[in-house]
Structures are given as C-alpha cells and as structure tokens.
C-alpha cells in the first residue's frame, strides 16, 4: 500500500519537517551568548521523548488487541528481538534476530 498524497503535498510535508528539524539543530548553536541553556522544565520533558515516542511507534507493530489481526509470527519475533536488544544494545543483532525469527516461524507453521 503506497501513500495516496500527491507529490506537491508530500514535498511540502518533507520541506516542513526539514525546516523544523534544522531549526532544532541550529537553535542553541546560533543563539549561544543570548540563550545558553535549555530551561530545566523543558529539559525534563525532552529527556522522556525518545522512550515514550519510540515505544508508541514500536509496540503496535508487535502486539494488537484485535484478535482477528493478531500475528503470532510478529509477536514472537518482536519479543525475541527485544531480548537481544536488551542484552546487546546492537542494531544489527536486533534486526538479524527479528527478521530471522519471523522467517523461521513463517517457514515452520
């Protein structure tokens, strides 16, 4: 399934993400001297962004509450890959485990 947005809308979205991302990168580098530190309240929020957002992105790919759509192969592969990620913190090992288990489960059952 591919996106049904037209190229102009896609280009606009890409440009907007690019501009806002660049603004984050440039922010304090450009403003140093006038604004030297992130306000502590904002920094406390920012600290939890990776854990909360990534978990919200990842978990629905492995688990679903919709019994009809539940995919045991993805659940098993995701759980084992999570274990490997925990032990090794290695991107390559995590991906190899996840894809390997997914293919093994699909071949065997």
């Amino acid at each position: 399934m591919a996106t049904s947005y037209d190229p102009v809308a896609l280009a606009a979205a890409v440009a907007l993400i690019g501009i806002l991302t660049y603004a984050c990168r440039l922010s304090f580098i450009a403003l140093f001297g006038r604004l030297d530190e992130i306000p502590p309240g904002v920094e406390r929020l920012l600290r939890f962004v990776p854990a909360a957002v990534l978990a919200a992105l990842v978990l629905p790919s492995f688990v679903t509450l919709d019994a009809a759509a539940f995919a045991p192969d993805k659940f098993i592969a995701g759980a084992l890959a999570a274990g490997v990620a925990w032990k090794t913190e290695d991107v390559f090992a995590t991906m190899a485990t996840g894809m390997g288990v997914l293919w093994a489960v699909r071949l065997l059952f």
Binding site: M1, A2, T3, Y5, A9, L10, A11, A12, A13, V14, A15, L16, I17, G18, L20, T21, Y22, C24, R25, L26, S27, F28, I29, A30, F32, G33, D36, I38, L46, R47, F48, V49, P50, A51, A52, V53, L54, A55, A56, L57, V58, L59, P60, S61, T64, L65, G78, A81, A82, A85, W86, E89, V91, T94, M95, G98, M99, L102, W103, R106
Partner: protein
C-alpha cells in the same frame, strides 16, 4: 582546512557505521513501501537527514495519516537535537554565523557524541574539522545506504516481510533510551496506550501514547521510589 583532524574524525566514525548501514537501508526500503520514487526518497534523506523521523514519517504516510500528524510526529522525534545543540554550542562559539549554519545541518546523535567526547578529552583537536570529518562521513554513508535501500526495496518480494525491519530498527534504539525507572515508565505507558488506541482515527494512539508517556516519566521522576508522593 586541517586534514589530519578531518581524517581523525572520519576514522572515529567508522565503527559507528555498523549501526548506520542497516538503518539507512531500512529508510530506503520504507521510502519505497510508502510509494516514494528514488528522487523523492533522496530528497527526504538530504532535506531532513534524521533517520528515525524519516522512517516514522514514511510509515505514517504509507497509512495515509493526516499530514499534520506526520509532521508533528517527525518533529517530536527530532526535538532531541535541541539538547545536542545546547550542549555543543559553547564549543562552536568562535565560528562565523555561516559556519555555524553549516555545522548545524550535519548535527546527528553520533556526530554529537563523538565530538563532545573528543573535545572533553585531553587530546587537542581542531574542533571544526574533527566534527566535520565525523559528521560528513556519517552524512555520506547515510545518503548512499538510503539509495541502496530504495533500489533493493523494489526488488524484494512481499513474502519476505521486509517492512518488519522498520519496527525492529526503532526497537534497537528504544532499548538504550530506557536508562532508569522514570524512562521505563515513559516507555511502558507510551507503548501500552499506543496499543490500546491502535484503532483510533488520525493515528491518535501514537500521539496520545507519546504525550501521556512523557508526562508519566516526568511524574515518576518527581516522586522517586519509596516516596509517598505527598
């Protein structure tokens, strides 16, 4: 140009490429899955140049999520650059505005981590050229692997389930982000709410899960274990 500092930065970035290469391939595959042609896929990699947000945006676009949600999700993922920017800013103080603008474009997790570690060590290094050596190497490898992934992605049969590599990449960067009890709470709450809200329109499960997860992390940190939370 200080070529020895540039080369040292590039050399220090090499071990990190093992993590970048599969990530870049997945970004290319995700672009093909979303229906992007090669020029658009390369455009995204050059304009945004931030892997996790690129892959998240492509995955949401593939599902025809409203563009406002796509942009919001990608930008929230990239808010961490504010922290890197603040942390590295003192080391870039003496450079011209034009150099600062250029250096900021190639600021990534890896370039930040390598450079700040090197600036804080006892070995003297030319800051600008060491940073550029690492950052430009990472940039070039990211662009090449994205293109390779986009070319590869079109040739692989659907039965291989290659799109499953996308959540696996996120999983691999999620686990190191869980560094204490408060960030674990943020992840569990964010993930659980996203699963509960998976059927909601506008991909609301993702946004609500992320927002409540962040709030849960902040609250957990404020009331440490053993405190009665008065």
């Amino acid at each position: 140009m200080d070529t020895s500092a540039f080369r040292r930065g590039a050399r220090d970035a090499v071990p990190l490429l093992l993590g970048i290469v599969p990530f870049g391939l997945v970004a290319g595959i995700a672009a093909v899955n979303a229906g992007f042609g090669l020029p658009t896929a390369v455009g995204l990699s050059v304009v945004v140049f931030a892997g996790a947000s690129q892959i998240a945006a492509l995955e949401l676009l593939r599902q025809d999520t409203p563009l406002s949600v796509v942009v919001a999700t990608a930008v929230v993922i990239n808010l961490r650059y504010l922290m890197y920017s603040a942390s590295i800013a003192p080391y870039f103080r003496e450079f011209t505005a034009r150099w600062k603008a250029a250096l900021a474009y190639v600021l990534t997790d890896q370039a930040y981590a390598l450079s700040v570690a090197s600036y804080r060590s006892d070995r003297p290094v030319d800051r600008k050229w060491y940073y550029l050596g690492a950052a430009v190497t990472l940039w070039a490898v990211w662009q090449v692997t994205t293109v390779a992934g986009a070319l590869l992605g079109t040739g692989v049969p659907d039965a291989w389930g290659l799109e499953f590599a996308i959540p696996l990449v996120f999983l691999a960067i999620l686990v190191p982000a869980i560094e204490d009890r408060a960030s674990a709470v943020a992840a569990v709450v964010g993930g659980a709410l996203a699963v509960l809200g998976a059927g909601l329109p506008l991909n609301l499960g993702l946004l609500v899960g992320s927002a409540v997860g962040i709030a849960a992390g902040v609250v957990t940190e404020r009331f440490p274990e053993g405190s009665d939370g008065d």
